[in-house]
Each structure stands twice: as C-alpha cells, then as structure tokens.
Amino acid sequence: MHGMISAAIIGIGLGAQYALLALGFTLIFGILGVVNFAHGGFYVVGGYVAYWVSAALGLPYPVAVLAAVIATAALGYLFELFFIERFVNDQLATMMLTLGLYLVLSTAIVVSFGPESPSFSFPITGSLHGKGFFIPWANLVVLGICVLAIAAVYGLLYRTDLGRALRALADDRAVATALGIRPRLLFPLAFALATALAGLTGALVTPILTLSPHVGDPVLATAFMVVILGGLGSVIGSIVAAFIVGLVESYSSIYLGGSKGALALFVLVLLILAVKPSGLFSREVRQA
C-alpha cells in the first residue's frame, strides 16, 4: 500500500512538470498552428538564465526564476516577430525555423557555459518522509507553482479579453481578423507566453534534476507525447494527459522497471491513439 501511495506521489510530481512543459507547447500549436521544435531549447535557456543570475550575479533564486521567465518571453517574442511571423502559415518553414533555433540555442549554451553540468541546486533541500514514501520539498514547491501557472494560463485564456482574442484566432483566423483582431500583435504575445512557460519550467526543474546544454532533447519528446495524447492545441487535454503520463510512468517504472515501464507507457499511448487518433481532448482546431 505504501508503495502505491509513493508511486502516486511521484507520478503527480512528474505530471506537474510535464504539464508545465506541455502547456506552452500546445498553446503555440493551438493559437499559431506552429509545432515549436525549439520548446526544449527555451526550457534549457530558462535553466541557464536562472543559474547565471543566481550563481554569477548572486541574486536570490526567486529573482533568478523571474529573470528566466522574462528572458525566455523576450526571446520568444522577438523570434516570433522577426522569423515565425513571416512564415506563420507555412508549417514546413516554421518547423525548420524552430529546429534551427533549437540548434542555435543549444550550441550557444555549449559555447558560453561548456558541455558539463554546472552546480545548480534548488534552494530548499530535504524531503517530506512518511510511512513508505517520500517527496522532496522542492518537488512540492514546483507542484504548487505548476498549479498556480496552470490556473493563471486558464484564467488568461478564458477570463480576459486577450484570452478571448487568442482563442478566436485559434478557432478561425480569417473571421477573427475580419472582426478586427490583429494577429501580428497577438501572435508574438502568445509565443512569448508559451516560451515563458518553458523558461519557467526550466528554471524550476533543472535545479531539482540536472542542467546541461542538451537536456532539452528528452524534454521536447515528452512534451510532444503529452500534447498528442491530450489532443494538439487543447490546454485541458495537455494537463490531463501530463498527469496520465506521469502516473503511468511512475507506476510502470516502479513495478515493471525502467525498460518495461517505458515500454508500457508507449504501448498505452499507442492504444489510446489507436482508439482516439486525435487525442483525448481533441477539438476542431486550426482552420489556418
């Protein structure tokens, strides 16, 4: 029984991290119709900005996280404005652009910080230990911030005029534009919001796990799997799918082992997609 509880706690922790990652990824696809292959790169940049601000500048960790969010948002905004915007309707071109950006970001980090992991730790250490389970305090903090971030994004999308405008663009860009909503103004903002979420995740998660220039590779793969399972473009779907993936990964890895656990996860995802190819919470996405 203790093992089951422990697996559930680990699974929820994993799910929270995956949800934060997937949220930004699915936002960009849902609103712009762009599959952002640089998402893992923004995660890494967030981690390194937070590391640099806290280690080199000596500023407190919360300031470092804030700096990471601002830096990745600014980078995302500029990248969308100067590169994506021109090819926003060309999925092949945007795919190549975002892939290229990921290579540029990861190489720039190797050149600037070296290939090895720096010493970057979460300021809160220790774990909450119960009967047969444990959960690091850092994971609890990340879980809390994840819940807040999800609530904030949800509130922004469904409770503000900006959110309504973004959703209108996602539903039907031509009609929304005819009604006076300006994609050129809102697309960079949406991209910045999504990359800021990736940066926030990087700043929060890399000190718990590890920070290295290429840690974005598996992050992208996980985010991709989660958003496809949840339904590309669906915010709620991504969040639910993230927790499903986290819990399945946790239970299967603990009870079946790392190899069989990974296999079980992919088989489950395959089965779900076989039954519902458009994902769990698919909707009429993109007309553009």
Partner: protein, 395 residues
C-alpha cells in the same frame, strides 16, 4: 656583366630552390589528419570533448616539436572531429565523413553503441579506430583495424569491486545503467564482479533519455540495498541519480564503476560532504606524478586547463601511440601497415609509464591498451584521493 657571371647567376637562381627543397625534412612536407569521433553534444558530451582534447594535445605536442618524422618527411598533425551523438549510426556516418576527408586514423569513438556502429564501416574504409567503449565486443578478431584505448570492465571490475567491498563493507548493491549496450555491457560485468566477491547484486536499467529518475530511485530503494553503482550511466544521468538518491534519504554507499563523471556527481549533489560515501573508477591513477605532469603540460601547451573529465587521458595516449606507429611504419596512407607497427610497438607513455597490449582472453584479439587504473574514494564526506589499482592481465 660578363657572360660567365650571367651564367653563374642564372644557374644559382634555378638551382637554389631545388637545393632548398633537398634540405632535411620540414613540417610543411606533409599533413597527417587524425580523426576524432565521439559525442560532442548530449548527455555524454563531456566524454567526447575530453577525448578530442586529448587528441588535439597530442597533435599540438608533435607540431611544437617540428612535426612527425615519416620516412624523410616531417608532417604536421591536425585533428578533424565528428559528433556521433553516442549513436551507432552517428559513428558509422563519422567514419564515412572522415574517409571523405582522407582520414585514416581515428581516435574514438567513445561509447559502446558507437563502437558497434563504426567497426565494420572503418574496416571497409581502411581506417584505424581507437575506441574507449566498455562493450563486451569493443574489439573483435573480425575487425583487425579496431583498437581499444583503455582497459574494459572485465579487466578492472573484479579488483575494484573487491577493493570497494573491503573499504565500505556493503553486502548488497544495485547496478543501474541505461538499457542499451552502453549500459548493459558494463552493469552486468560490474554486477558479476560484485557477486564474485560475495555481494548480493542486482541490475536496474532505464530508458536512455530519462531526465527524472524518481520512479527508478523508488524502485531501487524498495530493494533496500547497502550500495548503488551508477556504472556507465552518462555523467549527467549518474549525477542526477546520485542527487535524487541522497534527496530520497538514501545514506548508503554510491559507486561509479564505469565512465568518468565524478566531478559532475559532486557538483550535482552539492559537495563532497553531501555525497558522503562514494567510490569510482579512474581510468588512470590521476594522483600519480605522471598524470599531474600531463595536466601541467596541457595547460602550458594549450593555454587552458585540460577538461575535468579524465577521458582526455586515453585520448592523449592513443593519439601519441598512433603517431608513433605512423612514424615507424613510414606511411601516412596505409592503415594496415600502421596497425602492424602498432602491434609491434612497446606500450609505453611518458606520462602513464609502461603498459601492455592485452585483450586476447576477453576479445580474442590482443589490441587493448592496458595501464593500471585508479580507484577514487570519498569516505564520510572526505575525499581520500585516488589510489592505483593493478589490473589482472587479460592477455
């Protein structure tokens, strides 16, 4: 100006360049391109970068001395590297790319998947390789141009497992590694070595690319082991596993009988004190005067410190030996002749001392460079340094 003087002047002008060309060998006479194949990106990047640095240092040594004598010529040495991303296909592509650059001698690749991928391609291309993989088939009789740049797990695991057990007295251990050849070939040998020393050993494998090891850690803790060996997990993975083990409250011994990665582990956990009890394989006795001299020479020649990852050492030693063999064989083109020269060379390095060619017993071919290894120990949060461990010969 007389006719005789004009004739003499003309003769001088014509013959002077020829005469200069006939002077003893100069570095500009030829160029030797050393290839380097290994992971220069991804979780194992620090291994590839260290190996490349070693090859570049060996090349710089030769160039500083005026070039490598090859018959009557003196050759400069350059290094061309290829990022094989720790994959079999990447390493095979690397061999082909280097063949297109007329590179006959390759330092690397690093990992087991890479070694598996490069061997047939390099053999077909007529290229010597010097891999540092810990695969059970790192070298094979079928591929006589493939050499092994360091001792494999079958050589060092038995004495190190014994020494670790004697030091820390653990009775059970879990060996954890990725679930591909780069992990299983090492963790299984480590586990067998522990079992041979009376330690109850089990193996846990994870999907390469895992970033959060919390479920794996829980599975390990469920077995309640006295020690955990991160074996050949990439440095970043091994460091995360150690960090998450300590955060989970595991206060047992952590070991690393596999690829280098101690510095990253210490950085990830936070300090030597927090790491507590830890032991690891050093591919060379790094506290020996010879290795310390190597770091100093590297700093002086390259103008920067050597990478902290010790895979730089086999990079230096392999490259030095290959260059020596090229000089002895008297060819920069014929890899088979150079391979013959390599086999006949006495294994001796100015920094590591005397070694030997081994491998017949394990791989069926005597093409493994073997030098004594080191075992590093951190006990009760204090770094006790690295002691030299003599390995049983595998000849």
């Amino acid at each position: 100006m007389t006719a005789a003087f004009r004739y003499s002047l003309l003769t001088t002008v014509i013959l002077l360049p020829l005469a200069l060309g006939a002077t003893p060998a100069r570095a500009a006479d030829c160029e030797i391109k050393l290839g380097m194949v290994g992971p220069l990106s991804g979780a194992a990047a620090s291994w590839g970068i260290a190996l490349r640095s070693g090859a570049e240092f060996a090349a710089a040594e030769v160039n500083k001395a005026g070039g490598l004598p090859v018959e009557s010529r003196k050759c400069t040495v350059s290094v061309i590297s290829y990022d094989s991303k720790y994959t079999a296909d990447g390493a095979a592509a690397g061999a082909n790319y280097l063949a297109s650059q007329n590179v006959k001698f390759i330092i690397g690749p690093v990992g087991s998947p890479e070694a598996t991928g490069i061997k047939p391609v390099a053999q077909r291309n007529g290229q010597i390789t010097f891999n540092t993989a810990y695969a059970k088939n790192a070298i094979e009789p079928n591929y006589p141009l493939a050499f092994h740049g360091l001792s494999g797990p079958a050589t060092w695991a038995p004495p190190l497992a014994k020494a670790a057990k004697e030091k820390f007295g653990f009775k059970s251990i879990v060996c954890v590694a990725p679930n591909d050849q780069g992990g299983t070939d090492i963790a299984s040998v480590d586990a067998a070595a522990y079992r041979a020393n009376g330690v109850k050993a089990s193996e846990e494998y994870y999907q390469r690319g895992t970033t959060n090891f919390a479920p794996i850690i829980q599975r390990i803790l469920n077995q309640n082991p006295d020690a955990v060996d991160t074996a050949s997990s990439p440095p970043a993975d091994g460091a995360t596993i150690a960090k998450q083990l300590r955060e989970a409250g595991f206060d047992g011994v952590i070991g690393r009988l596999g690829g280098p990665g101690t510095a990253e582990t210490i950085r990830a956990v936070g300090s030597v004190e927090k790491l507590g009890n830890f032991y690891w394989l050093e591919i060379a006795p790094v506290d020996s005067p010879g290795v310390k001299a190597l770091w100093k020479e590297y700093q002086e020649l390259m103008g920067q410190p050597a990478p902290s990852n010790t895979l730089v050492i086999p990079g230096v030693v392999s490259a030095r030996l290959v260059l020596k063999a090229i000089s002895k064989a008297g060819t920069t083109e014929n890899a088979e002749k150079v391979a013959e020269a390599l086999r006949s060379l006495a294994v001796e390095d100015k920094n590591l001392g005397k070694g030997e060619w081994t491998g017949q017993k394990i791989y069926g071919i005597n093409q493994e460079l073997s030098f004594p290894v080191g075992m590093g120990v951190i006990a009760n949060g204090k770094n006790l340094g690295v002691t030299m461990i003599e390995t049983a010969t595998s000849r």
